[in-house]
């Protein structure tokens, strides 16, 4: 390799280095874009479109009672079998009314869910359940902060959650 080639190589290498440093230097003077999570949180408007686990929507007249009519369509539509809806089983004729048995929705004569549980650890957040619901009773919550050591914590009781949210809302409204 001749001397001129060596110098040329050194020159192009150094030029690359200077240009690279220039880009880095420019980025260094700009404000940071990272959100340092526990100290800062993502802004609210970024979260409203975020899909957390599904939640029930309350009736307009009584937000503590879901619009759900316990038809079981969402259970069937869900690809991952996350939703469990239990309704009281109607007593057969001639049988004496014993303790109320719960069975999977739909049950004859039952128009409200007795239990509505979503297993978030299985959910693929596809939205099939919300799309199939005939009365628009399901939507996605926007809570991204779900952490737990126990898998059972992700079995979410949506009826209890709805009641709690309605109560909180009522308190906040007063």
């Amino acid at each position: 390799m001749s001397v001129s080639q060596l110098i040329e190589e050194a020159y192009t290498g150094l030029k690359s280095l200077v240009i690279g440093l220039g880009v880095t230097g420019k980025a260094l003077t700009q404000p940071g874009v990272t959100v340092l999570y526990p100290m800062e949180e993502v802004e609210r408007d970024n979260l409203v479109t975020y899909r957390g686990h599904v939640e029930l929507i309350g009736k307009d007249e009584d937000p503590a009672v879901p619009r759900c009519v316990a038809c079981g369509a969402c259970v069937k539509a869900c690809p991952s079998n996350c939703i469990t809806i239990l309704c009281p089983v109607a007593a057969k004729e001639g049988e004496e009314a014993g303790p109320v048995k719960m069975g999977p929705a739909p049950q004859k004569g039952s128009k409200t869910p007795g239990e509505f549980i979503v297993d978030f650890s299985l959910c693929s957040l596809c939205g099939q359940c919300a799309k199939t619901c005939p009365v628009d009773s399901l939507q996605f919550s926007d809570n991204p902060y779900m952490v737990s050591f126990d898998r059972k914590d992700f079995r979410i009781d949506l009826l209890a959650r709805l009641r709690r949210m309605a109560r909180d809302e009522a308190v906040a409204g007063e």
Partner: protein
């Protein structure tokens, strides 16, 4: 106590075909991750002579998740979320290929607005995929900073797509006959602002990386794939476009409304890693052009064609090809008239692209093999399915 005898060590089925010896210079190396639960698990068995590769063989199947079998167990709509998981980097293209195949089977006409939205989100997703490839490839080559810049820009796309689809990575946005929900009112303006922003960033990308002597040294004349080789293996996408054949499904067999847009298909003739790199960098601009046209011409109207609550295509089969970020995606659906598909075949472009690696790696240095592997833009979940 028994003495340690290295020849008594037995590997598995893949390594059984790689025997050490006859000279001391020959080395068998298993290149790849150590644990099957890491993401993107690709293992490559290498036979080395010193630092030169004599033989390379990819070992697949570490994240095989039986997507094709799953399709047979689910109804047509229930299979859609799987498409986001096959290729998690360009989920929209897989969404489209599956929705398209079922629509073709049923003879559903997709409303114009839905078609335009599909184009816009797919191209946004393509940019995010290329940006991630760009960062990860340079990470493979030992440059740490670029991925930070790439993710900075990619984050804007994820925010736009989150507002539309609700997800940030594994989208399940398409439905049979349309899209899941309408785009927000500020979608067009956000997309235009993003494409403007990305175009202004590209000169910086070029200065920082593309013109850098180290990158050029590691990419130029490395892994030269001539077009015949690419054809023989069925390599598609940026891999074959880097070898001088400008084949792109969006142009060759236009699907959706791609024939209404005016865009350039980049192609380079060198066939080396640098050419594949340049194709992807140019495709960022191509996608920006398409997005601009799609959101500016976004028509009003419905976003969902009339399809029954339970999707039940008639007996028959259909095939649909889509240009993904990695190449030609084909989905073949066969129906026996029931609510579940009889068979779904997924053709992943990454599989064919990876197959070329055996030929490209032969005779190269080990460090160059990493560069070649990265330049093929492999997404392992898609290859294993």
């Amino acid at each position: 106590m028994q003495a340690f005898d290295p020849t008594a060590l037995r590997g598995d089925l893949a390594s059984a075909r790689f025997e050490p010896g006859p000279t001391d210079d020959k080395l068998i190396l298993s290149m790849g991750p150590q644990h099957p639960s890491t993401h993107g698990v690709l293992r490559i068995m290498l036979e080395l002579d010193g630092e030169y590769i004599l033989r390379a063989e990819p070992v697949l199947g570490y994240i095989h998740r039986m997507h094709e079998w799953m399709a047979e167990q689910k109804t047509y709509m229930q299979f859609m979320p799987n498409m986001g998981r096959v290729d998690y980097l360009h989920a929209m293209a897989w969404n489209w290929a599956y929705a398209g195949a079922v629509e073709r089977l049923m003879g559903v006409e997709v409303p114009k607005r839905a078609e335009y939205i599909r184009v816009a989100v797919t191209e946004l997703n393509r940019i995010s995929s290329h940006l991630l490839w760009w960062g990860a490839y340079l990470l493979d080559l030992g440059a740490f900073t670029p991925i930070m810049y790439a993710f900075d820009d990619r984050e804007i796309i994820l925010d736009i797509l989150q507002a539309v689809t609700g997800s940030r990575l594994t989208y399940s946005y398409f439905t049979i006959g349309g899209v899941y929900g309408d785009v927000p009112a500020d979608f067009a303006s956000r997309c235009l602002a993003f494409t403007r922003h990305l175009r202004s960033r590209l000169p910086m990308y070029r200065d920082l990386v593309t013109d850098n002597v180290i990158l050029r040294g590691r990419c130029e004349d490395i892994g030269v794939m001539d077009v015949e080789l690419a054809r023989r293996y069925g390599a598609t996408g940026p891999c074959i476009r880097g070898s001088g054949a400008p084949v792109d499904t969006r142009r060759a067999e236009p699907y959706g409304v791609y024939n209404r847009f005016d865009f350039r298909i980049p192609a380079y003739t060198e066939g080396d890693a640098m050419a594949r790199y340049m194709v992807r960098m140019d495709e960022l601009v191509t996608s920006c052009d398409i997005i601009d046209q799609a959101v500016q011409g976004l028509p009003e109207g419905p976003i969902q064609a009339k399809v029954g609550k339970t999707v039940k295509p008639p007996k028959g089969e259909a095939c649909y090809a889509v240009e993904g970020a990695r190449g030609k995606i084909i989905i073949h659906v066969r129906s026996d008239g029931g609510p579940k598909p009889y068979r779904v075949k997924l053709r992943a472009p990454g599989f064919s692209n990876l197959s070329v690696f055996c030929d490209l790696a032969r005779g190269t240095l080990l460090a160059d093999a990493v560069s070649i592997l990265g330049s093929l833009d492999l997404v392992i979940p898609e290859i294993d399915r």
